[in-house]
């Protein structure tokens, strides 16, 4: 499948932590599989601690997946092989983080931040380098370019800073950018500009994006496909519009209900408080302890991701062959 740029299949990551002198396994990522097509945007959505950043770290090679684990393929080549050409891999796969203030050195001007990868990866110097910097700043709409090139981070707004961070990521001409919560620290009024920019870069520069967020609205705005994570497991995935408008998994439905809807305040009252922060054990479905539809069977088997219709996959017994019809929803 040449149109798939990134493919995760049955990827696992376990962290070992020590608590009260005992080792404890944290299953940050469990059997995660999804594909990212060339020039597509996939949104990875889930609550805090669901494993989104861990997946980003596995893809960018910052962390290694468990030894007995599936594979991550970039351009059909396993990450294990890319590890021997990490420099080249980094050039193709760039990362953008949540906090633009922390991502940039406050003492270096914009042209330094954007120019460094040009020297590093493309060996550009002098005039050629200057031209490339201008071209990239143009691409992220930091105009007038000459004025912005010499600015220091404190002279820029949050949205402008995040555009500098994106410009820096673009400098190596990457094929894939992993963006971990790139807009969540920005005001709503300036989020749109960054979201619009990502969309434009995908269309015009042909960059693929893995867009990480806990916000389903921006996922729907930006992504072609959505992957919903809960406690390290993919519970639902598929076409972005379908997943949001016809959410199947009770967890996706909970995320949707949690979005305030000031135009229909009466809906708020129906929000089920008992669904908050319950922890379960490790057998069966990961969402079982918080699920309003939990059945006996859910404690016994962990459902796997199964196709549902043309555009969606869901890991939930409510939709499995044995009980086709959802109990109530």
């Amino acid at each position: 499948m040449a149109d798939v740029i990134l493919s995760l299949s049955q990827v696992n990551k376990t962290y070992v932590t020590r608590k009260n002198g005992r080792n404890r396994n944290v299953w940050a990522v469990r059997n995660v599989s999804f594909d990212l097509k060339r020039q597509h945007i996939v949104a990875l959505v889930g609550e805090s601690g669901s494993g989104k950043s861990t997946i980003a770290k596995l893809i960018t090679g910052v962390e290694r997946s468990d030894a007995k684990s599936g594979s991550i393929l970039f351009e059909q080549k396993p990450l294990a092989e890319w590890r021997r050409h990490m420099r080249e891999y980094r050039r193709h796969v760039q990362m953008v983080f949540q906090d633009p203030y922390a991502a940039l050195n406050p003492l270096n001007p914009v042209n330094y931040a954007v120019g460094r990868p040009l020297t590093n990866y493309k060996k550009l110097r002098g005039q050629a380098r200057e031209q490339e910097i201008e071209q990239i700043l143009q691409q992220v709409h930091l105009t007038p370019v000459r004025e912005f090139a010499n600015k220091l981070p404190f002279e820029l707004s949050g949205g402008q800073l995040q555009r500098v961070v994106i410009a820096r990521a673009l400098a190596s001409s990457p094929k894939l950018i992993v963006a971990d919560e790139p807009v969540s620290m920005l005001d709503v009024s300036i989020r749109a500009e960054v979201i619009g920019l990502i969309d434009e870069l995908r269309t015009q520069a042909g960059v693929s994006f893995l867009y990480i967020t806990h916000d389903l609205i921006s996922a729907r705005l930006l992504a072609d496909e959505i992957v919903v994570l809960y406690r390290g497991t993919v519970v639902e995935s598929g076409d972005a519009k379908t997943v949001v408008r016809e959410a199947l998994h009770p967890y996706t439905q909970l995320l949707l209900q949690a979005i305030p809807n000031p135009w229909a305040p009466e809906q708020d009252e129906n929000f089920d408080m008992s669904l908050l922060e319950r922890t379960g054990d490790d057998t069966g479905c990961v969402f079982r302890s918080r699920c309003p539809h939990a059945m006996e069977a859910c404690a016994k088997t962990a459902p796997t991701l199964q196709p549902h219709g043309e555009k969606q996959q869901v890991a939930c017994l409510l939709y499995s062959a044995e009980s086709r019809e959802p109990v109530n929803s």
Binding site: E47, S157, D187, S189, H214, Q257, P260, N261, M273
Partner: protein, 319 residues
């Protein structure tokens, strides 16, 4: 009588006037939401009202009447007996404001013993009751803050702010650092608590969705000023200030057939260098020449307020 009545409040940090001529009042049991983008002066306003401004922040002029008494001239010593019992605060960092080396129970006991001493057994009862109010199992009373999730810690801060039944509570971005599901829970929980205890509150957030959900009335801040204030219902249906309209458009319904990202191009003015004219004019899609030369006055009428040259000229503008 209003619980809180703020008049012509101006607050500065050196050359920066972060809050300019703000007027607002709060009735008993009312929640006033304060929204606005980053740097618009929301936290400065909240800290000024609760007299928690840190230097170089300073109240330059105005009155803050709490139950009729002006808080501006009061010293910290005079204010101390009002803290927790009359006025309490919950901050975004509230969850980090808990003392890391004391159990949850100790933190409640410290507050109670200083302000309203009672016996050990009575106190234990009160701690249990308060934790249950925010849906936390009382067994957590003997845990340390680091053993609780962010959302639980924030709920403990809320319970702590409520423990002495204050009349006014300031919430400054109490849900911002939290997950959507937890945010939603806290908002629902606060609505219930308000019905039960009838406290008045200022609820600050840059998230208009959350503010609209919880507040009875909303004040919209821009560049240090309140530009519009209306009941939540009216603000939603008939926003009057172009900035409010623009903010409302930033929140699409995720389930709509087609949705698009809408923002407000441009940036707010530099508060250290305020020039005449409406501060929003350069970003306003409906500005007229007057907007760039004259600063619109904030006109109040009953529980509403508006600072916009277009007021009353709608027909003319639309034509």
């Amino acid at each position: 009588m209003a619980v809180l009545d703020v008049k012509h409040l101006t607050v500065g940090y050196g050359k920066v006037q972060a809050v300019r001529d703000v007027n607002l009042s709060l009735e008993k049991g009312e929640i006033l939401g304060i929204v606005g983008e980053s740097g618009s002066g929301k936290s400065t306003l909240g800290s000024a009202i609760t007299k928690l401004l840190r230097p170089p922040g300073k109240i330059l002029s105005g009155e803050i009447r709490f139950e009729g008494e002006d808080l501006v001239p009061l010293t910290e010593k005079q204010l101390r007996h009002k803290r927790w019992t009359d006025i309490s605060v919950v901050m975004q960092s509230g969850m980090n404001a808990l003392n890391p080396v004391a159990t949850i129970r100790r933190q409640f006991e410290d507050v109670i013993l200083v302000h309203q001493p009672m016996g050990k057994a009575k106190m234990a009862e009160r701690v249990d009751e308060m934790l249950q109010l925010v849906n936390i199992d009382p067994v957590y009373a003997d845990h340390y803050p680091h053993e609780l999730s962010g959302g639980m810690k924030q709920r403990v801060s809320i319970a702590l702010a409520l423990v002495l039944d204050p009349k006014l509570i300031l919430f400054d971005e109490p849900t911002t650092a939290l997950d959507v599901v937890v945010q939603r829970f806290i908002v629902q929980n606060l609505k219930m608590l308000r019905r039960r205890y009838n406290f008045s509150a200022l609820f600050i957030s840059h998230d208009l969705g959350t503010v609209l959900e919880i507040a009875d009335r909303v004040a919209v801040m821009y560049a240090g000023q309140i530009v519009e204030m209306q009941t939540t219902r009216n603000l939603l249906r008939h926003p009057k200030h172009p900035y409010t309209e623009a903010l409302l458009r930033c929140f699409p319904d995720p389930r709509a057939e087609i949705i698009e990202a809408v923002g407000i191009p441009g940036t707010p003015p530099d508060l250290a260098d305020i020039t005449p004219g409406c501060p929003f004019a350069p970003r306003c899609t409906r500005s007229i020449s007057t907007c760039f030369s004259e600063t619109p006055a904030y006109v109040m009428e009953k529980d509403t307020g508006l600072a916009c040259h277009l007021a009353g000229r709608e027909a003319e503008v639309q034509a």
